[in-house]
Amino acid sequence: MLDIKNLTATAGGTEILRGITLTVNAGEVHAIMGPNGSGKSTLAQVLAGHPSYEVTGGSVTYKGQDLLDMEPEARAQAGVFLAFQYPVEIPGVTNAYFLRAAYNAKRTAQGLEELDPMDFLDLLEEKLKLVEWGPEIMSRAVNAGFSGGEKKRNEILQMAVLEPSLAILDETDSGLDIDALKIVANGVNALRRPDSATLLVTHYQRLLNHIVPDRVHVLAGGRIVRSGGKELALELEERGYEWLTDAAGAVA
């Protein structure tokens, strides 16, 4: 599904990713953990193609395609979805309109016919249940005036509608109370399929109580310094990141 080899990237001339190698297979959930400033969010943004980051080396293959050679919208149309750490507000554009435009952009790219507003509403009704929302949310402007938790839920709703092959969740758990966290986690779990994969970027272990990962990787100083099973997350919870970052520093 996703094959990252020795990926390096800079932002504003500063090297942030210093050689990431990571393979994610279909059906797997990988958690990317690490202290602040370790490059977690940068990795997520680079995979989605954010223009503020410059890839300086390495390769990323997604479903056999050179991901780094694709425009951000082409990546999205090919099934790469990024749930933003800070979802953007678009005043005056309703959630329904935005979601349908995104959904139809993907369909058009796949050579399918666009869905008309009525059929799309039927589809939405199903997806709204996942995040325990009523239809009134659809007439609100995209994220405008939403609370932090509502914005994150809205990301999950978009993900549910777009049914990505590769979902990247960038600190979707941060700033959520426990109820909202459960709703988000349930949404993600419900969308797990044998032919899709999830990359969870998180600072804390608590999300992993709800979404159980197949692999856990610890990022420090722009490199993966440790990989393991789900038990690694628990160890981190207990011991913090310092013992790993110190070790990484010693290696560097």
Partner: protein, 478 residues
């Protein structure tokens, strides 16, 4: 590296062509003889010539206003041609006699003057340079008593109405450009809706500047008698030229008791090139008077063109319980400058006004909102709500807000909200990450921003305005 937004904003002005047509043109320059010549060409009654000359004498003593937040080299008023009209041998009996070249020009602009085509049930007055070349559906409108004709025809056929209302809202000496217009105005549209009549179709005027070095000085007068209702639209385009051309128009609206006038503008004059060369100076005075109780005047404008825009469509709320509204989208790109807004003058009791202004600045454009809300001593219980939002695209543009509030009665209430936002790479990236391309993303974000204004435009023009907005901003994000 060109950012996606930059490359999006550069798109060509598709109305920039010139029609090759023989014109009757007066010599360059302005003096009393020019005015007498224009008046004679139009075979005007004496009162109108006198009115023009008085305005001209007032104008001579006035100075060009320099308080707007715009910059341009001095205008040489002696270097302008004040009258240019396509030559036609005899007066037109019907639309069939309009020069085919002119009909073709309007077809090319997307305006059909053929009544058979019945362009969405909209009646059109077509103004080409200094004169009206055709007005459609005149007979059909006359059946319900509605008068819709060129200003020149109104002077000939309804001099008493013209005499009664001309200058009643914007006096001849109101300001520098209004005085200039009063002296030299050549044509425009005239609308009269009799008592209790709801105008059966949308009325519109399409202004086209064609000849080089001419100024366009048109004058529009709309009178809605008690209980009458009318919706009127204007559109405008001009050829691409590397010299500036002056457009100084005056629009007067009179709404009597319980009457409603909705006046919508989609302004797309040539804006100059990316370095600011050429384009129209759009220096316009628009004002409506809610003369009767419970009358209502609504201005909706979408300003995308002109190199410089200077206009403040205003409402004098004289009648008790009258309502004034101003909905505006103003877009500047490249080197365009706009200083636009409104004046709401509350005179009567329980008068109410709403101002929604959306300014979009891109490229190196400078956009200013300037508004006055004035509550006079007798405006008991008057209310105003103002919302003034600016959007910046890129780092080289500017947005400015100059709200003036003058309240002279303690029971009046004035609310003002303002915001400035920047359409950033993050907003665009968010849309792209959801599969939308840059063009669709910008168009969606900008249209969302303007939604409150667009929903006040008649349906087919709202669609037009949305498209126009996309075109004006093409290449703007940097």
């Amino acid at each position: 590296m060109t950012s996606p937004v930059e490359s999006y904003v550069q798109q060509d002005y598709k109305y920039g062509f010139v029609t090759d047509i023989e014109a009757d043109t007066v010599p360059r320059g302005l003096n009393e003889d020019t005015i007498r010549l224009i008046s004679a060409k139009k075979q005007e009654p004496a009162f109108l010539l006198e009115w023009r000359l008085a305005a001209y004498r007032r104008w001579l003593a006035m100075t060009e206003p320099h308080w707007p937040n715009v910059q341009y080299p001095p205008i040489d008023y002696q270097d302008i041609i004040y009258y240019s009209a396509p030559k036609q041998v005899k007066p037109l009996g019907s639309l069939d006699e309009v020069d085919p070249e002119l009909l073709a020009t309007y077809e090319k602009l997307g305006i059909s003057l053929s009544e058979q085509k019945r362009l969405s049930g909209v009646a059109v007055d077509a103004i080409f340079d200094s004169v009206s070349v055709a007005t459609t559906f005149r007979e059909k409108l006359a059946e319900s008593g509605v008068i819709f004709c060129s200003f020149s025809d109104a002077v000939k056929d309804h001099p008493e109405l013209v005499k009664k209302y001309l200058g009643s809202v914007v006096p001849a000496g109101d300001n520098f450009f209004a005085a200039l217009n009063a002296a030299v105005f050549t044509d425009g549209s005239f609308v009269y809706i009799p008592k209790g009549v709801t105008c059966p179709m949308e009325l519109s005027t399409y202004f086209r500047i064609n000849a080089a070095d001419t100024g366009q000085f048109e004058r529009t007068l709309i009178v809605a008698e008690a209980g009458a209702t009318v919706s009127y639209l204007e559109g405008c385009t001009a050829p691409k030229r590397d010299t500036n051309q002056l457009h100084a128009a005056v629009v007067e609206l009179v709404a009597l008791e319980g009457a409603t006038i909705k006046y919508s503008t989609v302004q797309n004059w040539y804006a100059g090139d990316s370095e600011g060369k050429g384009g129209i100076y759009n220096f316009v005075t628009k004002r409506g008077k809610c003369a009767g109780a419970r009358s209502r005047i609504t201005w909706t404008q979408v300003e995308t063109g002109s190199s410089i825009t200077w206009k403040y469509p205003s409402v004098i709320l004289q009648g008790d319980d009258s309502i004034g509204e101003f909905y505006s989208v103003a877009v500047v790109n490249n080197r365009q400058q706009a200083d636009t807004g409104t004046k709401m003058i509350h005179v009567g009791r329980n008068t109410k006004s709403t101002i929604i202004s959306k300014g979009i600045s891109a490229g190196r454009g400078q956009n200013s909102y300037r508004g006055l809300v004035k509550m006079l001593p007798k405006a008991v219980g008057a209310r105003n709500y103002t919302q003034c939002d600016s959007m910046l695209i890129g780092n080289a543009c500017g947005a400015h807000t100059f709200p003036y509030i003058d309240v002279q009665h303690p029971s009046a209430s004035v609310e003002h909200e303002a915001s400035t936002s920047k359409i950033g790479e993050d907003q665009i990236f968010y849309c792209k990450q959801r599969g939308l391309d840059t063009e669709d993303a910008i168009s969606m974000i900008v249209n969302g921003f303007c939604k409150d204004v667009f929903q006040n435009l008649p349906m087919e023009f709202a669609v037009e305005a949305q498209k126009l907005l996309g075109i004006s901003l093409e290449g703007s994000v940097g």
